[in-house]
């Protein structure tokens, strides 16, 4: 399938250091892509490049086969949902949602009808005549979404859209975002630093760090087989065990695992570490998390995290033996 969005060797720098370095990315029509990374990783800059608020110093951006690199935001088939929603405070919700159609010369009756229908789609049918300041954060979020969707963009760009909401509302809006995306079929590109949010929403995760793409793929693939050390630690928790390779295996403090010669370390997820194996370790810390206990144990010179049942009798200072599920060990090459 031809990609809907094609970012080709995009680089951009703001004086001090590069913000985007040689970013190349293809995105499929109708997909839900999440750009995931810590602050300063360049994910928001990449979104600005896609939205047309920033022209990159090098590289090209194609949307639907058209070169949009230097095209103004209004002239490209994208619409942006801003982090602070950026609703027009002096207009009613209906006028906010209909603004894009008004700019396209659509008559009042027609755009009001379309705005009402779109507000229904996002579950805010009753808010048409209200003012933005009368709405809650979650409702404003939906108005911003409806306003951007009404201009029928080929790609909808969302800049940390759930960042300002509390945890419970965030989980609820995640489900709704996904449902709305399926209903309208528009490709969504969503920026966040929250890896749980990324896994809950994305068909395609793009992990960014220091202006580069560290890894990209389905959430399952990126979580289970992260390509880099950064991805292994940023997408969920991992313990890193350095080792040395010889004869098709890497030897670490916690045993040997099959690995290619260029391997430098292995990463282990806490859920793949259990008590009752043959790796001697000392428990440093135990944190009760409700449904499980998070155990930090020292193996050689490295700390290994384990997730054990909440009932397990284990305390700091104890000597224990750990088991690592070799099938799920992640081999790192960087």
């Amino acid at each position: 399938m031809t990609p809907l969005v094609s970012i080709q060797q995009v680089s951009h720098g703001f004086g001090a250091g590069p913000v985007l370095q040689d970013v190349t990315l293809d995105l499929a029509p109708g997909s839900y892509t999440v750009l995931l990374g810590p602050s300063g990783s360049g994910k928001t800059t990449l979104l600005s490049v896609l939205g047309g608020f920033l022209t990159p110093e090098r590289g090209r951006v194609l949307i639907g086969g058209q070169d949009c690199t230097a095209l103004a935001p209004a002239r490209r088939p994208t619409a942006t949902v801003f982090q602070d929603y950026a609703l027009f405070p002096h207009m009613s919700v209906g006028a906010n949602v209909g603004f894009g159609l008004r700019m396209r010369g659509v008559g009042r009756a027609e755009r009001d009808r379309a705005a009402r229908a779109m507000l229904e789609t996002v579950g805010l049918g009753e808010a048409f005549a209200r003012k933005p300041h009368q709405l809650s954060g979650g409702q404003r979020q939906r108005v911003a979404l409806a306003r951007a969707l009404l201009v029928e963009p080929a790609v909808l760009l969302l800049d940390e859209p759930l960042g300002a909401l509390d945890l419970k509302l965030r989980r609820q809006m995640q489900d709704e975002l996904k449902a709305i995306q399926r209903r309208v079929g528009t490709a969504f590109i969503h920026v966040t630093h929250d890896q749980e949010e990324a896994m809950a929403l994305a068909d395609h995760i793009v992990v960014m760090n220091r202006g580069r793409i560290e890894d990209e793929g389905t959430p399952e693939r990126v979580y289970q087989r992260p390509r880099t050390r950064f991805t292994a630690t940023f997408m969920g928790e991992s313990s890193i065990l350095p080792g040395r390779t010889a004869q098709g295996a890497i030897t670490t403090a916690a045993g040997s695992f099959p690995a290619p010669p260029e391997a430098t370390a292995v990463a282990v997820r806490p859920e793949h570490v259990a008590l009752g194996g043959d790796i001697p370790a000392t428990v440093i810390d135990v944190v009760f998390q409700g449904s499980y206990k998070r155990v930090t144990a020292r193996v050689g010179d490295s700390d290994v995290l384990a997730r054990v049942g909440a009932e397990t009798p284990v305390a700091a200072g104890e000597a224990v033996r750990l088991a690592i599920d070799a099938r799920h060990v992640i081999v790192l090459r960087d």
């Binding site: 405070p89 002096h90 603004f99 700019m103």
Partner: protein, 256 residues
């Protein structure tokens, strides 16, 4: 101790407002001289003011100059503030300083400068010349008020409008100006207040048609009578109303 504090406060407010209070009181004087004893109240001097063709013409001229010069100063100040707030301009801080500089120059100097300049280019002394003078003194003020109210949050709202297809003209007309209306009105009414009782520039730059403060000055040269008190009280009343409107808009609690 407390009584002393009240007494002190009373003395201060008395010092500030007693002259105005006396002026207003004797504008209601019933006889020919604005001196004690007070034998009013009478509205005869107000009637005299309103039937004086020169004073009413000055009143209309003052209103006209205040409205037009304030509208122009607010409009220009708004565009300048928007430009400085939204775009990266070379030497931005320096240029902003130069725009607000006239705030520190005395009206006499500005008036003289304009007089010499207008003379040089052959622009006649007139209400229009005085109006331009008022734009010169009020533009920096409007700019400062409006620039201080342009925040990053509004910049994002403008980005959203552009993203949805708004041209720059539509953006200013439909989004930025309505979003900033409290600041725009505040700037407008403050300009009105200053233009309304401005004397020096109007005096220097007008000839036959002139503004109310200049007419009052002409009257004062003939000596004091309760009519000057009445017209002074009228000017003061209008200033108070403008100032109250300005404060209501500027210090009103806004939602969000």
């Amino acid at each position: 101790m407390r009584a002393a504090a009240y007494l002190y406060a009373l003395a201060i407010y008395g010092f500030i407002f007693l002259p105005v209070a006396v002026l207003v009181l004797f504008s209601f004087q019933g006889t020919l001289f604005p001196i004690p004893p007070f034998n009013g109240p009478s509205l005869r001097w107000y009637a005299a003011v309103l039937s004086d063709a020169r004073l009413t013409a000055g009143l209309v001229n003052s209103i006209l100059v205040a409205l037009l010069s304030s509208a122009l100063a607010t409009g220009l100040g708004f565009l300048a503030a928007w430009g400085f707030a939204r775009f990266h301009l070379p030497g931005s801080a320096l240029l902003r300083g130069i725009i607000t500089l006239p705030l520190t120059v005395s009206y006499l100097i500005i008036g003289m400068g304009l007089l010499i300049f207008f003379n040089w280019i052959g622009f006649p002394k007139s209400l229009a010349a005085a109006g331009i003078g008022h734009v010169v003194i009020n533009l920096p003020l409007c700019f400062a008020i409006l620039y201080s109210q342009m925040g990053e949050n509004q910049a994002n709202i403008e980005r959203a409008a552009r993203d949805l297809g708004a041209s720059e003209a539509k953006l200013l007309l439909l989004v930025t100006a309505p979003m900033m209306w409290p600041a725009l009105f505040a700037a407008f009414f403050l300009s009105m207040t200053f233009s309304w009782d401005e004397f020096v520039i109007s005096f220097l730059l007008t000839r036959f048609d002139t503004t109310l403060p200049v007419e009052i000055w002409n009257m004062l040269r003939a000596g004091l009578n309760p009519k000057t008190n009445a017209v002074g009280a009228l000017v003061f009343g209008v200033s108070v109303v403008l100032a109250i409107v300005f404060e209501l808009i500027a210090f009103r609690k806004r939602p969000q």
